[in-house]
């Protein structure tokens, strides 16, 4: 398989994730969309590392995974906090900062 096949797969997964982030109304669904987008970046990094023969891409994949872990942990903590304050996780109803 060529490099382009992997890049197109990553583009498709990224667009699905972006669509999910924009259209989902559940806060947890938005976080899942962000996970999909970060994973498409991982596909790109690993594919480029394989096709250029350089291990650096995989090192950056490790960093991406670490950052995804922190993002998920903090995002879910914020979701729990919002649920405790507002009793909902629907993004349309979370307008605490609206002036």
């Amino acid at each position: 398989m060529g490099l382009q096949a992997y890049l197109i797969l990553a583009a498709v997964v990224f667009c699905i994730g972006l669509f999910g982030v924009i259209t989902r109304r559940n806060t947890i669904g938005i976080l899942l969309g962000i996970e999909l987008m970060l994973n498409s970046v991982n596909i790109n990094l690993v594919a480029f590392a394989r096709y250029s023969g350089d291990v650096t891409g995989m090192v950056f994949t490790v960093f991406t995974i670490c950052i995804t872990v922190t993002e998920a942990a903090l995002g879910l903590a914020i979701v729990i906090l919002l649920f405790r304050v507002r009793r909902t996780v629907t993004a349309d109803h979370l307008d605490l900062l609206k002036g």
Binding site: Y6, C15, T56
Partner: protein
Amino acid sequence: MSEALVFYFLAGLAIMASALVIGQRNPMYSVLLLIASFGALAGLYIQLDAPFVAVAQIIIYAGAIMVLFLFVVMLLNAPQEDAAGWDRSHPLRRPGMSRIGALLALLLVVQLAWAVLSMSGVEAPAGTGGDAVSSVRALGRTLFTDYVFAFEATSILILVAMIGAVMLARREGDEA
């Protein structure tokens, strides 16, 4: 030939599972389908001679992050998204707008695919054996020599995130 078949199978599985993650209204099913998508991507990483990344994908994403998501979904007992409760006076919140959004997303996919296909691609993987890339030894050596500062900074980032998550989820009245 079989390599192409495996790629198309895993890529199709990943795309289908990802689309269903977004299409599902029940967050529980979304999380479970996302695990399936991550599993298919781990298979693709193995095909790309990256076994370490594949194992890390399974252990960290499917094992840790998704369990955390499932835990929060069950804890909050998050209801299904209600289509009736929207404020329909806003033009961007009408029910048909998500179809236009899907069309725009498809347009973005076509645009990106066109951009990728129009570049001069690298057809054959560099280094036919792929030992230099696939070995965990090379990965570890690069990680702990060239990128050791970034590695240590990442550990501090994770520590800060851990403390932040505990601080955020703490109840107000608790003794600090």
